[in-house]
Subunit: 294 residues, 2 copies
């Protein structure tokens, strides 16, 4: 791709790709917009009516959507198309998504072998930035009168030429959480004077694993992962606090709510059991996505 | 104190204190030495025979010892004598120890109201540097023919004017350990592809607490503290490894050996139980110290 990956959704040069690829012919209209301040995301759509590209839609309006943003990962692939920006990589194949949608847009524009209107949507901030919700809140569907919209994601586990879909959810919700445990610091040799936040934290971390195994219905899908934990600096000092953070994934909104409630109930009550306190922070990101039955 | 605290035992200006305090009168001999390379510690002793300060001892030779080194702690006391070096503090009152021994040395030198020989020893590297052992290995006791040696440590829990002692051990052994747990990194939403080193680490941390409560005889003294644990950077990534470190304290060498064996057996076997591996590092520092019965 000619464009380096951007993690910060306010810095998308990607929004200029369609122009660079010469798909913005007369029969297409280009829209750029900064939606939902203070989230400085931008999206871009092209649409075309098969009958003369009038402003009003003719026939069904079908949306095609790809995501553009990168992840904070150091690219070590050595690929010809490898990221040119240190510490940022199109690690989920979003450059591929964008390229595929650009190719589709050019094909549609050149052949015009379709009826109705095609709306081509390049979504920013899929990776935790809430770009999809920002686009919807901004009225994307009403703005173009979109009847149906289609999206896809690369999946290396599938053979080339295969694709997979299903009715119902197939992209899990993504919520992140952070827990701070306040104990009481002490000399490492005087544990009776402290409240050890590492002992509290280890108990919380393990108890969180029981949410999936003990609280969620066995037929439901759910993941609770603690990805980081940091506490203390010296081996002979009981630190005053510990912090940990993680992610939860679900398909069902009921399970999603259950997990959120259990994560914080465990953190709060386990900390209290040891005489400490937990402070929680939930960053709700993206609900589960999937395909409607209609 | 006129001298800023030094954590690096190679940088003691403290060894010059006795000269500054004018205790090095003619009847005292000052010794400075770098002992036990590559440990660049220095010690200093003054000795005096009550009968004319001859080179040969006359009567008993009694040693008095104080420690001089600082700790890596930011001093926030605002005291008049606060550390003038950022990040280093005489946090265990070692400046007090040194001042007390200097005062004693001056008093002894001025009054000379004692029989035999007094050897005044300023010990570097008490805080984990093994300065005491280095001095002994260097032959301190034989060099001066020391018959008895006395040491003390400040104890804020005692009222002013009180001191405490006992026959047997009263300064615990200090051993530090570090454990690295190698799991297998994975996407936070694909836990089945990884071996979560945080789950392993939390289990090890909690199991270590059972050493004192389940393995050590209830009448024995022992402490096992994990002072720090670090793993992972992002909430949605299962990290490949976790590291933790801590300290153990005992009075009895048998308990000391038991704890060392249990710490690493727990780390190794718990890690193996989850399909991971643990790598251990033991830094044995200081055995228990105490008062002999004779």
């Amino acid at each position: 791709m000619p464009d380096p990956p951007r993690q910060d959704p306010s810095q998308y040069e990607s929004v200029n790709w369609p122009d660079q690829f010469n798909v913005s012919q007369k029969r297409w209209r280009v829209n750029r917009k900064t939606v939902c301040p203070p989230l400085p995301v931008r999206w871009l759509a092209l649409h075309c009516a098969s009958e003369g590209c009038s402003d009003g839609p003719s026939g069904d309006v079908v949306g095609l959507r790809a995501d553009m943003d990168a992840l904070p990962i150091e690219e070590e692939t050595g690929a010809r198309w490898a990221s040119t920006i240190k510490g940022v990589m199109h690690a989920c194949g979003h450059d591929g998504h964008t390229a595929m949608l650009l190719g589709s847009a050019r094909e549609l524009a050149q052949t015009r072998e379709f009826n109705g209107t095609a709306v081509v949507v390049f979504q920013p901030a899929e990776e935790g930035g809430g770009g999809g919700k920002a686009m919807l809140d901004d009225g994307l569907m009403d703005r173009f009168g979109i009847d149906e919209i289609y999206a896809m994601h690369t999946e290396p586990a599938l053979a080339i030429g295969q694709f997979a879909t299903t009715i119902g959810p197939f992209g899990a919700s993504v919520d992140s959480f952070k827990i701070r445990i306040d104990g009481k610091g002490a000399h490492g040799a005087e544990p009776q004077d402290g409240i050890d936040p590492l002992v509290v934290g280890a108990n919380i971390l393990l108890a969180l694993q029981t949410i999936v195994s003990r609280n969620v219905h066995p037929r439901q899908c759910a993941v609770v992962t603690v990805g980081w934990l940091n506490a203390g600096k010296a081996g002979n000092v009981i630190p005053p606090f510990a912090e940990m953070g993680g992610t939860t994934r679900t398909f069902d909104p009921i399970v999603r709510n259950l997990i959120e409630a259990r994560v914080f109930a465990i953190a709060e009550k386990v900390a209290e059991a040891y005489g400490g306190e937990s402070h929680r922070q939930l960053q709700a990101h993206v609900p589960a996505i999937g395909q409607s039955r209609s």
